[in-house]
Symmetry: none
């Protein structure tokens, strides 16, 4: 069963505003086994709107239309849906009365054009809106002899969402064959996307009834595996089977089988092993600490650390000898190792984590290019150091570097 969400409003076609209702509605539709196949954002022009609705009627079974139900000249959804489906509008007395009452209770005059909010499509069910003056409408109708479920919802999120939940979801549930969606999210660190796909595609392609989505960002991959079936157990089994095979193929690249973030996993293992962590960051400038402390309860395992942007602070906060920096440079395996060991000792943490590197755009040399990053982890017994060359701009290098640092802790503890 395929759906399209149409969000109406010229403000969502500017550089500043995005439709957000659709994320909410998508989540709810998915639970009924309805897949959102298209989202369309269209402005207040009547012809554009009509065309978008016709296009949607031609390609999906469920059509959720949000916005354009207000009282102004720009609010044309009712008219456009009527035109596209060949349905008349009639002005409903009960709704006129309600609009008048509403204006009266707010002690506001009601302009004549407000009455267009009482226009109802032929055959539509009126959906009450406790949070605004624009009612919704529900149509169970046909278009070119196919059955179509069409919902008209108000645009403001605090009106749209409760109305969808209260009025549309139960009706959809009754109208649609019963399906259930099973879903798992696997997460993977530091594996390049192309390599991940090469490794995993031969596996997930065997499962035509399961949808696998790969989402990659700066060293983090999110793999979503989902399956919709009439039989909930069957859907769950298919997802679990594929997820297990993907997990096996991923080996220790996998850090989470249930969608948790890398920093959540790191904190989970720190708690489990009852150890503490401190950080000394140069090129990431606090990003690693900020990510860790984003998780509620981080203070149970994370002590804090230092942002050592200058050589002097590397010495002052982590006892890195000035001569060591002079001999090897601030961005070097030796200094990063000393930073990890130093911050560990100075904070009394079980584990000391350090990052140095050239984030760019300036600062690199021929032998030490922009994008070179060192991370080190000290536990009092041994100190591991790794280096990588990352591509991309300053932000990307810093994101990859913080990911690499957190993943090093994860691998040590897991």
């Amino acid at each position: 069963m395929k759906a399209e969400i149409i969000a109406i409003g010229s403000e969502m076609l500017t550089p500043f505003r995005q439709d957000t209702n659709s994320l909410y509605v998508t989540e709810k539709l998915n639970t009924l086994g309805v897949v959102v196949a298209f989202k369309t954002i269209v402005g207040d022009r009547r012809k554009d709107l009509e065309g978008a609705i016709r296009t949607a009627l031609g390609r999906v079974d469920v059509l959720v239309i949000m916005g354009g139900l207000g009282p102004t000249e720009d609010d044309l959804t009712r008219e456009a849906v009527g035109e596209a489906l060949g349905l008349e509008l009639h002005r409903e007395d009960a709704l006129i009365e309600a609009l008048k009452q509403r204006a009266k209770s707010w002690a506001m005059p009601m302009p004549e054009n407000n009455l267009k909010q009482a226009d109802v499509l032929e055959g539509a069910l009126v959906l009450p809106n406790p949070n605004g003056s624009a009612v919704g409408q529900w149509l169970d109708t046909t278009y070119e002899s196919f059955r179509k479920l069409v919902m008209l919802l108000p645009g403001p999120p605090h009106e749209c969402k409760p109305l969808f939940d209260a009025e549309c979801l139960p009706r959809l549930k009754r109208a649609l064959p019963s399906y259930t969606m099973a879903k798992r999210t696997l997460r993977v660190a530091m594996l390049p996307e192309s390599q991940a796909d090469k490794l995993l595609a031969p596996i997930y392609q065997e499962y035509e009834d399961v949808e696998t989505t790969i989402l990659a960002h700066s060293g983090d991959i999110q793999l979503t595996v989902q399956c919709v079936k009439a039989d909930a157990d069957e859907a769950g089994e298919r997802v679990d089977e594929l997820a297990s095979r993907l997990e096996e193929a991923l080996g220790d690249w996998l850090y989470s089988s249930d969608g948790e973030s890398l920093e959540q996993i790191v904190l989970y293992y720190l708690g489990l092993r009852q150890v503490t962590l401190a950080t000394a960051e140069s090129c990431t400038g606090g990003m690693v600490a900020a990510r860790i402390t984003d998780v509620p309860g981080a203070s149970r395992s994370f002590l804090g650390g230092a942002v050592v942007y200058t050589n002097a602070l590397k010495t002052a906060f982590a006892d890195v000898p000035a001569e060591l920096i002079a001999a090897h440079g601030a961005v070097s395996a030796e200094v990063t190792k000393a930073l990890a060991e130093g911050i560990r000792k100075r904070t009394g943490a079980t584990l000391g984590l350090a990052v140095t590197g050239f984030a760019g755009p300036g600062g690199g040399t021929e032998t030490q290019p922009v994008g070179l990053v060192y991370v080190a982890l000290a536990d009092g017994q041994k100190t591991e150091v790794f280096d990588r060359n990352f591509r991309g701009d300053r932000l990307r290098v810093r994101e990859w570097a913080s990911q690499m640092a957190l993943d090093l802790v994860r691998r040590r503890l897991m």
Copy 2:
């Protein structure tokens, strides 16, 4: 001139991910007087994709297609555009060579399916992509005897945006009738959105030919003032006139008249006054330092600092007396003041900045609720301390707190 932006990728039809490239591309298209009339988000199904492209070709003149240019089986944009426009694909030798070189330089094997990234549409111009393996394509073509400008761009934002700027914008400018957009972005810290709008609406509503947009996020307001005219000077004058009046009304809430971020402004003033800064962060856990070090060249004025998540580290890295913490609590004016003074002394910075607070969800008390934040700034002569109660979840409180801390430095220096 009407445009449609098509964002391709099933992940953008989930509840988790939204297309963001389109906001950027919309902004750039608007500068050329091109209005975005539709945005469509479509998944990786070949038939859906082809249909969406045909629909767009039927209703707009400029078509920006983003995503689906990678090497995987799901990357079907080239094929779908070819099908919709009736154009053949051919595999280009120079691109094959470049892909092989790229794989070699990364010392990675190149899977055979990577070669589909060398497929070019008949009549298309190849647009080089310095940030990834997928090149873009530019088509100046016809569909049902109308001229259509069609651009294929890679989906990852760090590839899409620079490629659009470098390769598409100049070509669009040459191909389209000349309009100019004048624009100014004013930025404001710590002023609530409703107050800003109450203050500014009576002014900007006088300018019907100038579009003013207010965008607020965690203590940061971005005011965009823009005007499109055939005459560039006229557009510029209108924007400057309105911007000046808004600036006057905003007074010292305004921190930037040209779109710079708060951290850029702080670094600018640190450089101008030739002073240095160090930070000691508790509840923000490194966010303030991470924001500052996000700006290239931050090391000229920012020394670093400490993330002092525990009481012991407040003492170890900023010499806050343990008795002071015991007497007043870690989240208090006294401790925050001592932190600012301590970090200043320990790092040798001209200015010491400190933040403490309860970010939640746990940790607050009746007198000290979640959302309570202290910031302090020490310069060796005096130390200012301020407190605020922020609403919202952990992330929001941390964002507001880091904004408040940076704004304190800005106000001191400006």
